[in-house]
């Protein structure tokens, strides 16, 4: 028992350390990658002919853009160590304020999609297992196939066209239900796919046949034996689902015209707003890492098979 606990804690410690290292890596990589992008915020300001070349050079010196990358990096590191992520170079407003204003919208979309996804993704296969000759089987298969074949991007655009433009059922801009549903089905499909296979495998296993022979009801068997497995699988997938939800949310926000991290990041990249892009990428990356870390730790506790890894 003690040995097991020690094993788990060592494993967790190693994972935490690794995640931290990756987080640091993200910080460094983002900073330098962004500096490689041609064009900077002075070009944005000088757009449409406001500044002569000389004025632009002066402005760059003023904004500190002419200092060496290394110098800029240390300065910036110092700032974020103190929690100050700087001002948006385009709007002169604290970056954290800009992100905070739209974060809620993205989280709403992400959580809604996640909820729909988990409910459908676990619910449908379970129901399909309990009622093997019902429409649930067909639905589960359909969702699985749909999610792996149709890209959410094109579904989103088609949905805007059909439901907003033609039918007028949803507003053209800013709708929540449509993107949440589309993303949710996508997530549900990935979960359902794994669960369905699991269930089919377990179904044919000996102990199930024994249980059935003993007369236990189908529902009982499904819930008792298969559901816990579903949890493990979902946990294992959480990290992946999290980053899928993020990517999906970004595309969906752009397609459905919702304010959010996605549109913010896109505009920031187009406007060469380094501080904003940096901070967004870093926060998102760290969020994914934390999600993966939490899922990993949870798995270690839940799934005995992994403990000894």
């Amino acid at each position: 028992m003690m040995a097991q606990l020690r094993g788990i804690s060592l494993g967790i410690a190693a994972e935490v350390l690794r995640s931290f290292a990756i987080a640091v890596g993200i910080v460094v990589l983002t900073f330098f990658l962004l500096r490689m992008i041609p064009g900077d915020v002075v070009d944005v300001i000088g757009l449409e002919g406001a500044l002569t070349y000389e004025q632009q050079a002066n402005l760059r010196a003023e904004m500190g853009l002419t200092r060496s990358w290394g110098e800029q990096f240390w300065l910036w590191l110092g700032m974020i160590a103190g929690g100050d992520f700087g001002l948006s170079s385009r709007f002169a407003i604290p970056v954290t304020q800009l992100i905070g204003a739209v974060l809620g919208s993205t989280i709403t979309l992400g959580l809604s999609a996640l909820t729909i996804g988990i409910c459908l993704g676990i619910g449908l296969p379970v129901l399909a297992a309990i009622y093997p000759r019902s429409a649930f089987v067909w639905l589960a298969e359909a969702i699985t196939i749909w999610s792996i074949t149709v890209p959410t991007f094109s579904t989103g655009i088609a949905a805007v066209v059909v439901f907003a433009v033609w039918l007028g059922m949803i507003p053209a801009i800013g709708n929540l239900s449509a993107p949440a549903l589309i993303l949710g089905i996508d997530i549900a499909g990935s979960i359902a796919k794994i669960l369905r296979e699991d269930m089919k495998e377990i179904e044919s296993a000996d102990f199930i046949r024994t249980a059935r022979a003993k007369g236990l009801s189908r529902t009982r068997i499904v819930l008792a034996h298969i559901l816990p497995n579903a949890m493990t699988v979902t946990l294992a997938l959480v990290g992946l689902i999290f980053s899928n939800v993020l990517t999906g949310a970004i595309t969906m926000e752009i397609v459905f015209g919702r304010p959010g991290i996605g549109t913010l990041a896109l505009q920031a990249i187009k406007g060469r707003d380094y501080p904003l892009v940096q901070t967004i990428i870093i926060w998102l990356g760290i969020a994914v890492i934390i999600a993966n870390l939490v899922a990993d730790i949870a798995q270690r506790f839940v799934d005995p098979r992994i403990r000894l890894r």
Partner: protein, 306 residues
């Protein structure tokens, strides 16, 4: 160089396994060619793939219009002259769709190949270079996986000069981590098998073991992953084109068609639907084929394919 264990057989050494879909034993090691008994979905996938390849090769010759030829018949409905109508610049949608098929397949394949090479080589290098190399390489791999793919590709394309090269590079780098992980996982699994230990005992060098014994056995997993990543490359390219940062505008990729058509959804919905349907159908085909490949190459291991 032949695989020691044919695909489909159980890693624990049993002679035959239950084929899930048919519930009867399939004979074990055999070299005779048997006409593949495939599921309906897989057949559909193969047929669609074949059609897409045929269109890509022959297409530009059979369409009567030049895909970049603009005209004054703008947003026209399908007719005898323009089989799928025209877009907002008067360009023939059918011709553009065909060119788009070729572009999607070529771009997707090249990007996926770049991802395959980069990922596999990085993984092999990482595993071969001791603790620190391992940590470094796979740290970077996890780093890239942690970033949302769209943003990563976007930032890369903007950083390098926009164009075909940068798009392919960005897509390749964005998906390389998937190949790196698969390579590592398969490699470790194969390396644990008794025949590798046996080879080692008999004096084979690690390099020889890697290349001659292990690599052939993981190609199955790699090919499967390739079939899964390819459609993702195609979709990501479509997203990039949609955002205005795809390949050179002369190339009528589906993403670009979707982008320009989305402003005219009322006047010309067919112009928007055509590339969307094409994209979905092709992704479906790849998914079916990928599924079948996975069924054949690692039925016992559950690989998380998302």
């Amino acid at each position: 160089m032949r695989a020691l264990y044919p695909p489909g057989s159980d890693p624990d050494g049993r002679a035959f396994v239950l084929d899930e879909s048919e519930d009867r034993p399939v004979a074990g090691p055999t070299r005779r060619f048997r006409f593949p008994h495939l599921r309906l979905g897989t057949w559909l996938g193969v047929v669609i793939m074949g059609a897409a390849l045929a269109i890509a090769c022959v297409g530009p010759w059979i369409s009567i219009h030049d895909p970049n030829d603009f005209s004054s018949t703008v947003n026209a409905a399908p007719s005898d002259i323009h089989w799928l109508g025209t877009d907002d610049l008067g360009q023939d949608v059918f011709a553009r769709l065909i060119v788009g098929t070729r572009l999607s397949l070529v771009l997707g394949t090249v990007a996926a190949l770049v991802a395959l090479l980069a990922g596999t080589l990085a993984a092999l290098f990482g595993m071969a270079s001791g603790r620190i190399g391992n940590l470094l390489v796979f740290g970077i791999v996890d780093l890239i996986r942690a970033l949302p793919g769209v943003l990563f590709a976007l930032a890369l394309v903007v950083a390098i000069e926009p164009g075909t090269t940068s798009v392919v590079l960005a897509l390749g780098l964005a998906f390389a981590p998937d190949f790196a992980r698969i390579t590592r996982a398969s490699y470790l699994q194969e390396a644990a098998r008794p025949y590798v230990a046996a080879a080692f005992v008999f004096g084979a060098s690690p390099v020889r073991i890697a290349l001659v014994h292990i690599l052939p056995n993981i190609t199955g997993a790699l090919v499967t992953q390739f079939a899964i990543i390819l459609p993702r490359c195609i979709v990501l390219e479509a997203v990039l084109s949609f955002l205005g940062l795809g390949v050179s505008p002369e190339y009528a990729t589906w993403g670009r068609m979707i982008a320009s058509a989305s402003s005219y959804t009322e006047e010309a919905p067919h112009v928007l639907l055509a590339p969307i349907v094409a994209l979905s159908v092709l992704t479906f085909a790849f998914a079916m084929i990928g599924d079948e490949l996975r069924r054949r190459f690692d039925p016992a291991r559950r690989r998380i394919m998302t």
